[in-house]
Symmetry: C2
Subunit: 518 residues, 2 copies
C-alpha cells in the first residue's frame, strides 16, 4: 500500500524577497511529491497487482496524545502561532522564522500547519492499515510506504532542525503503541543524514535527562517545558495498556561529513552522536557511515561487511528483547504459581509463627521468613505485555547516485539498486519478527531524479520483487524525470520503447497527484 | 623486554584514619607490582631466552615537552603542590585530595610525585629501547612491556579520573613523536574500563575544542589554562621535526556497564563517548563492548565477530593513513617537478605578459594565468614526513576471569588465554606496519590473580608463543598467587610438580622486585 498526503503540498516557501539563486537552494519543495508520484507510477506500471495507492486527506490534531508524548504541548503551540503570524510577516517582507532558528532550512507559512495535521492524520491511518485486523481498513496491507513532508528525522522534541518540524517516525510509533499495544520498534534510517532528532527521542524514551542530549540549538530554546512533559506524562503502570512505553532501537546508515556533522556544524558532541554504537543502558543505537566506492561490486562488498550491520544489529535487538520477554513470562508463571500456593497456605502461616518458640534452628527461621513474606507481602504478579514489535524505515533518498551535486558534495552515495535490495532485506527481517509488517516513511531525497528512481527501487523491494539493472540506468531515469517538469507535455511520437513506457508512467504519476502540478 | 619502575612503589595510600574495610576498597596498591613480577617470572621460567627484565630507576621531569604537550604546565604544578602539602594534611587527618576530586579513587602522598617522575622516565626509556637503533639501548628490543603505576588511561588533560593522574600512553606517543618522528599511533586498550581520558586527548589532537569534550568533572576544574596550552603550543610548521603532531587512533574493548559508564556515573555524554565508532573528521576511534559468554567457544566466537574489530579497525586506520601518505608523496613529486620547471621558465613568463595584447583568446588567458601563478606564487613544496606509525597496548587486566568479584560485578570478563591470543594478533599487526614494534603499558588489573595470570598470558603472546590451557587453570593461578602474600614462605616439601614450579617462579618474582615485599 502506498499512501500519499496531498495536504503536504501546503507547506510552501513564502519569502518573496528571496533571489532566484537563493530560491534554488530551497530543495525541500512541494514538487518532491510529484517526483515521488512518478517513482510510484513506475513501480505500479510494472507490478500493478502488488500495489494500491491511496490519497489520504486525513487530518489529526497536533495535540493528539502521540504527538504530545513526543513533543510536549508547547512545541505544537509554538509552531501554530508562528504559522498564524507568518502571513503578515511575509507580506511585510519580514522573516517568518524566529531568530536563532536555522532559517536557511526551515520555512513556514499559514498552511504549514495544515500540512502537519495531514502528516499526523496520514501516519495514524498508515499504522491503522497495518495493525487494525478487525476493520480490514484498506484490506489490511502489511507494508505501507507513506509520502509526506516535511520530513521528520532531524526533529528533536522541541527543536526544528534540517527541514524537520515534528518527528514523524516517533509519532507513528507512539500511536502504534497507544492504539495497538506495540511494545518495541526498530527504526532503520537510510537517509543521507544522521537522524539526530529520532535518536535523541530514543535517549529520552530510555529515561535520560534532556540536559545531556540537547544539541547546541536546544540549549538556547526552552527545554524545561518539554522535560516536564516527559516526566509528567509517564504512563500509569496500573493499567496494562498504558504501561506500554515502546522501546525503540535506532539504526542509521549515513554520511558522517554531511549535516548535522558537516564542517561548520560538526561539534564533537554531534559527531559522537552520529557515531554511537551501543546496545546497553536501555538503549539500542547503531550508526554506520557511508564509504566511497568505485563500482557496484565494491559497494555490495561494503554492504555485506559494513552497511548490513544496521540490519544485523536490529535483529540482535529484537532477538534479545524477545528473549527477555520470554524470561519475564517464565518468571511471571513462577510468581503466579507461588502466589496461588501462598494464598492457599496463608492460614497455615499463622501456625508457623506459634511454632517458632519450639524450634530455633536456622532452617526453621528461614522457613518462617519465607512464609511470612509469602503470606503478607506477595502481590498477584502482573502478566508482562505481549512482545509486539514494529519495523519503521526512515526512507530518505538523498544518498542516491542521482541526488543533486550539491547534496552529494561529500562524494558518498549508493546505487539505485540499493533501495530495492536493502528493502528486501528489511522484508526478510519483518517476516521473522513482525509477520511481514513494515512501515516506510519518506524522509529526505531532493532532486527529482533521486526521488523518482529511489522510490521506484524502494517499492520494488517492498513488493519483494527483484530489481533489474536497466531500470536504474541514467537514460531511464532521465526520461522519467522529464515528467517532473511543471509544463511537461506528452511526446507525440516516442522514439523507442523506453519513451513509450516513460510517457505512460508519467501520465499515471501526474494523475495520482494532480494538485502537485499547479 | 620487560621494564619495571620500582619508583612506582612510592605511590601509596596515606589516610591513617580509614577503616580496615574501606582500606580494602583501595585496589590500586603498590602490591600490584609484586603480582606483576610473579606473572613475569612465570613467563620467564618457561621461555627464558625470549625475555629480558630491566628495573628502571629513570626519572624525568613532569615539565618535559611531551608531558606539557598533553597536560599543560598547570596540571603538573597542581599535582606537585598537592603532593607537597599532603604530608601535613595527612598528619592532621585531613583529606589530601581537593574537594570535588573523586577521592575514593585518587589518593596522593609526598612521594607520589616520585612515582610519576619514574613513570615518565621509564616511558622515555621504553620508547628509546624500541626506536633508538643507533645506540642499541638494551639491544633494541622491539617489544616492550612496561610495569608502571598509577595507570593513565582515564586521565584527561587536566582531570584526574579513575586511579589516573597523567596519561601514560599519550605521553609515550608524544615522546616518540618528538624524538623519533613518529607520525601515527594506534592505542589498543583492553582494560575493563573505557579509556575516556586517552580518547579525549585524541579529540584534542584532532583540533577539537575542549568545551565539547569535557567530562562533568572537567567543567568544575580550570580548563582554560589547558585550552591555551593546546592552542599556544601548536607545533611550528616551518621545521620538519616539529610539524609532526602524531595522529592517534584509539581502539577500546571494554564493559559499557563499568566506570566511567557505571550507573550513577553514566550520563548520556559518557555513554556516547564510550560507544563512539568513527573514522572521519580527522579521528579514528572504535569502541567495542564486552558481552557475557558461557564457555571458551562462545567467547572466541565473539572475539572473531566483535572484539577483533578493534584490530581490524586499527588496521584500516593504518592502511588508510599509509595510502594518504603515498598520495601526498606522489603529489609532492608532481609539485616538485612543476616547481623545478617553473623556476627555469620564470624568465619566459615575462614574455607572456607582453604577448597578452596580441592574442586575446581564452586559451591564451588561461596559459597566462597558469604561468603567472607559477612564476610568482609557487613555493618549493615540502616533502611530507615519512609515514612512521607505532602501536601501543593499554594493557589492563581487570577484565580477567580472575579479577575480584567486586570488579567483575557486571559479569563480563575474558578467559586468561585471551591476553595471549589478542597479543599475538597485535604482534601480527605490528609486523605489517611497525616492523614488529609494540609498546605495552600496564593499566588496570587489581586482584593478585588477575595481574599474575593476565601478565603471564600477555607476555607469552608478546613473545609470539602459544598459550597452554593448563597454565591458566585455577589451581595453577592459585599456587602462583600465594607468592603475592607479603609473608609468603617457601613450602619445604612441595606435593607435586605444580607446587615445585610455582615455588621457583615465586622466588624469581620476589627477587625481581624485592622492594615490593616490604
Amino acid at each position: 500500500l502506498i499512501i500519499l498526503s496531498p495536504l503536504s503540498l501546503n507547506h510552501t516557501f513564502g519569502r518573496s524577497w528571496v533571489s532566484k539563486s537563493d530560491l534554488s537552494s530551497i530543495v525541500e519543495r512541494p514538487q518532491r511529491l510529484l517526483a515521488a508520484s512518478i517513482g510510484i507510477a513506475a513501480a505500479l506500471s510494472l507490478f500493478p497487482q502488488n500495489f494500491k495507492v491511496y490519497l489520504s486527506n486525513f487530518k489529526s490534531s497536533l495535540y493528539s496524545h502521540h504527538v504530545v508524548k513526543i513533543h510536549g504541548k508547547k512545541w505544537p503551540q509554538e509552531i501554530e502561532k508562528l504559522c498564524q503570524e507568518s502571513e503578515k510577516k511575509l507580506a511585510k517582507n519580514q522573516m517568518e522564522v524566529p531568530e536563532g532558528w536555522p532559517n536557511g532550512d526551515i520555512y513556514l507559512n499559514k498552511n504549514t500547519i495544515l500540512a502537519l495535521k495531514g502528516v499526523v492524520g496520514t501516519l495514524e491511518k498508515s499504522v491503522d492499515s497495518i495493525f487494525d485486523e478487525k476493520t480490514r481498513f484498506f484490506n489490511s496491507f502489511k507494508k505501507v510506504f507513506v509520502v509526506i513532508r516535511p520530513p521528520g528525522h532531524h526533529s528533536h522534541p522541541c527543536t526544528p532542525s534540517g527541514f524537520c518540524l515534528i518527528n514523524n517516525a516517533q509519532i507513528a510509533i507512539q500511536y502504534a503503541s497507544d492504539t495497538y499495544n506495540i511494545t518495541h520498534a526498530v527504526i532503520l534510517d537510510i537517509d543521507l543524514h544522521h537522524g539526530d532528532g529520532t535518536q535523541d527521542i530514543c535517549w529520552k524514551r530510555a529515561g535520560f535527562n534532556s540536559e545531556n542530549l540537547v544539541s547546541d540549538f536546544d540549549s538556547a530554546f526552552d527545554l524545561n517545558i518539554n522535560k516536564n512533559e516527559f516526566s509528567n506524562n509517564k504512563y500509569d503502570s496500573s493499567t496494562k495498556k498504558k504501561s506500554l512505553d515502546p522501546k525503540v532501537g535506532y539504526f542509521s546508515l549515513h554520511d558522517i561529513n554531511s549535516f548535522p556533522t558537516e564542517l561548520g556544524h560538526a561539534t564533537a558532541s554531534r559527531i559522537k552522536n552520529a557515531s554511537t554504537c551501543l546496545i546497553g543502558h536501555g538503549l539500542c543505537i547503531w550508526n554506520v557511515h557511508l564509504q566511497k566506492y568505485k563500482d557496484d561490486n565494491e559497494f555490495y562488498q561494503q554492504y555485506k561487511t559494513r552497511y548490513n550491520q544496521i540490519l544485523s544489529k536490529a535483529e540482535e535487538f529484537l532477538t534479545q528483547e524477545k528473549l527477555e520477554y520470554k524470561n519475564k513470562l517464565d518468571d511471571y508463571y513462577i510468581q503466579l504459581d507461588r502466589y496461588n500456593k501462598t494464598k492457599s497456605q496463608s492460614f497455615q502461616t499463622q501456625n508457623y509463627i506459634f511454632d517458632e518458640n519450639q524450634k530455633n534452628s536456622l532452617d526453621h527461621n528461614e522457613n518462617y521468613n519465607k512464609n511470612y513474606n509469602k503470606g503478607f507481602q506477595l502481590k498477584k504478579p502482573l502478566k508482562p505485555a505481549e512482545f509486539k514489535p514494529m519495523i519503521v524505515i526512515s526512507s530518505g533518498f538523498d544518498a542516491s547516485e542521482y541526488e543533486s551535486q550539491n547534496m552529494r558534495r561529500h562524494d558518498v552515495h549508493v546505487p539505485t539498486s540499493f533501495y530495492c535490495n536493502f528493502t528486501k532485506d528489511v522484508v526478510k527481517l519483518s517476516e521473522k519478527f513482525t509477520k511481514g509488517r513494515v512501515l516506510s516513511l519518506l524522509e529526505g531525497g531532493y532532486s527529482d531524479a533521486a526521488l523518482c528512481s529511489g522510490i521506484f527501487s524502494h517499492l520494488i523491494g517492498l513488493a519483494d520483487c527483484n530489481w533489474k539493472e536497466n531500470w536504474g540506468k541514467e537514460e531511464t531515469i532521465k526520461e522519467l524525470t522529464k515528467g517532473c517538469r511543471t509544463k511537461w507535455k506528452q511526446i507525440k511520437y516516442p522514439r523507442n520503447e523506453l519513451q513509450r513506457w516513460a510517457t505512460q508512467v508519467i501520465k499515471l504519476g501526474r494523475l495520482l497527484l494532480p494538485d502537485s502540478i499547479i
